[in-house]
Symmetry: C2
Subunit: 250 residues, 2 copies
């Protein structure tokens, strides 16, 4: 399989047609997986805001005060307000804000970015990244899959890694249930999250900085002859870590 | 960048020289990243065991009884014993065993596998995967990096994904601290776990089943001009999820 960053994309602005811009710069082929950093999807969808756009309520002010006390750094309650408005649930409020976004993804600060956002203070994640992926897919000239990605921290391990927020034209996971290992035993690993693995792959060539390469193409990768399904974000009932964090306090 | 599975590897047995076998099948080049599934590292290092090799103590029997009660399936206390012996700490004992391996990785059942292990009941993870990676690297004819990988579950998200257990010839993480985004602001994302992203990339072509492809090569990927560091597994103090899980009970 081959992986390359799409060169020559401009600074994306609200209303831009991301699919058309990608099509101009890359000779896509049927079967490619096009991985798009959520940052440009958000910009195109007009998700850049200023802090002044958020009016901090009681809860946001209390959260910001607490975080300020812990870190010793000034915390803007309007940022906490933006996180609250993007979230369905607060999983942790200290020593940082970990929340469930409205589309089910668990990440710090609801994934709100302050890097690579000119002329605005904040960039919110796309409202519905799977719908965004589908729209980009429909706009591209080849029959491809699309994965909308974001860089995110994770428990247990230092550092961040790209994950999938939304996807179209493919299943999120390869389901190996019912398949066999080399000795004919049923497999222990049953569900491989290929959209997350594709997001990580793309991030190796897009990077986090000023590279200007928010899109990567994975070519000649095959989902293969496996079952698939689209369940990526755990619900509360099957997520023991979320349950534990809800009861925990810093 | 290019990613391909190394074909033609035999069933690996205790004592096999994994590096020599890889060298025979792949024309490696300087700068390649060679990702090796822990399963064959373990086999080569003689980490296959039978349940009969473990004598279940009190604690293992209690754990197995509890898990049996929860799931309704028979649980062998000798398996619980093997997990205990491979672990420094139990993070959760129910509804499944989540532990910290002796080398610091947090995963279910200390990563003990029951798939792709002929002639034995269990395959333990390598004792020191970074030492294994270094030994393989030394044995290869080109100047490459080596990542020893395993498929592992993760909180918040369904399914499994490959991660790095050990690495050699490269840093675990790209450290972006001090670097700037497109607008000259200091970056929000500071540490990119490239070894985990490489492991995920490799897993897209190796798979989980009877493919017989435990090794993948990532070619023409560049770490680039960034700082690096080798801290991958969080310690307890910086791991709030682990702290919360320790206090939680099912
Ligand atoms: N050409 C172009 N590149 C961008 C733009 N915004 C971000 N990037 C690049 O996209 C890549 C990913 O950016 P990042 O901020 O990490 O995105 P995220 O992971 O989705 O939050 C980096 O190489 C950035 O330089 C943009 O508007 N235009
Ligand atoms: N040639 C060969 N392939 C193997 C062997 N053991 C496992 N595999 C293959 O290696 C890949 C990864 O196997 P898996 O059990 O998922 O490894 P893990 O992720 O390290 O636990 C699959 O394609 C297996 O078929 C072996 O001894 N020889
Ligand atoms: Mn982001
Ligand atoms: Mn990023
Ligand atoms: Mn394994
Ligand atoms: Mn695997």
């Amino acid at each position: 399989m081959e992986v390359f960053a799409v060169p020559g994309l401009p600074e994306i602005e609200a209303g831009d047609d991301v699919a058309a811009l990608i099509d101009e710069q890359a000779a896509l082929r049927d079967g490619d997986v096009v991985c798009v950093a959520s940052t440009i999807v958000s910009k195109a969808e007009g998700r850049a805001y200023d802090l002044a756009d958020f009016e901090a309520g009681h809860r946001a002010r209390a959260i910001a005060r607490r975080l300020e006390g812990i870190s010793g750094d000034e915390k803007d309650p309007r940022f906490a307000q933006a996180v609250l408005e993007e979230s369905d649930e607060l999983v942790m409020t200290a020593p940082f804000l970990l929340t469930v976004t409205r589309f089910g993804h668990i990440t710090v600060n609801a994934g709100i970015d302050r890097s690579n956002v000119p002329d605005a203070d904040l960039l919110l994640l796309p409202e519905d990244p799977t719908a965004s992926a589908e729209a980009i897919r429909q706009g591209l000239s080849a029959d491809v899959s699309v994965v909308v990605t974001d860089t995110s921290g994770r428990p247990f391990r230092h550092g961040q890694q790209a994950v999938a927020l939304g996807w179209a034209g493919m299943y999120a996971n390869r389901d190996w249930r019912g398949e066999r290992d080399r000795d004919g035993r049923e497999l222990g690993v049953t569900v491989q999250s290929v959209v997350d693995e594709l997001a990580s792959t793309a991030n190796l060539v897009t990077g986090e900085g000023d590279g200007g390469t928010p899109v990567a193409v994975v070519r000649e990768w095959e989902f293969g002859d496996h079952d698939g399904h689209d369940l990526l974000f755990r619900d509360l009932e099957s997520d023991f870590v979320r349950q534990a964090l809800r009861q925990w306090s810093y």
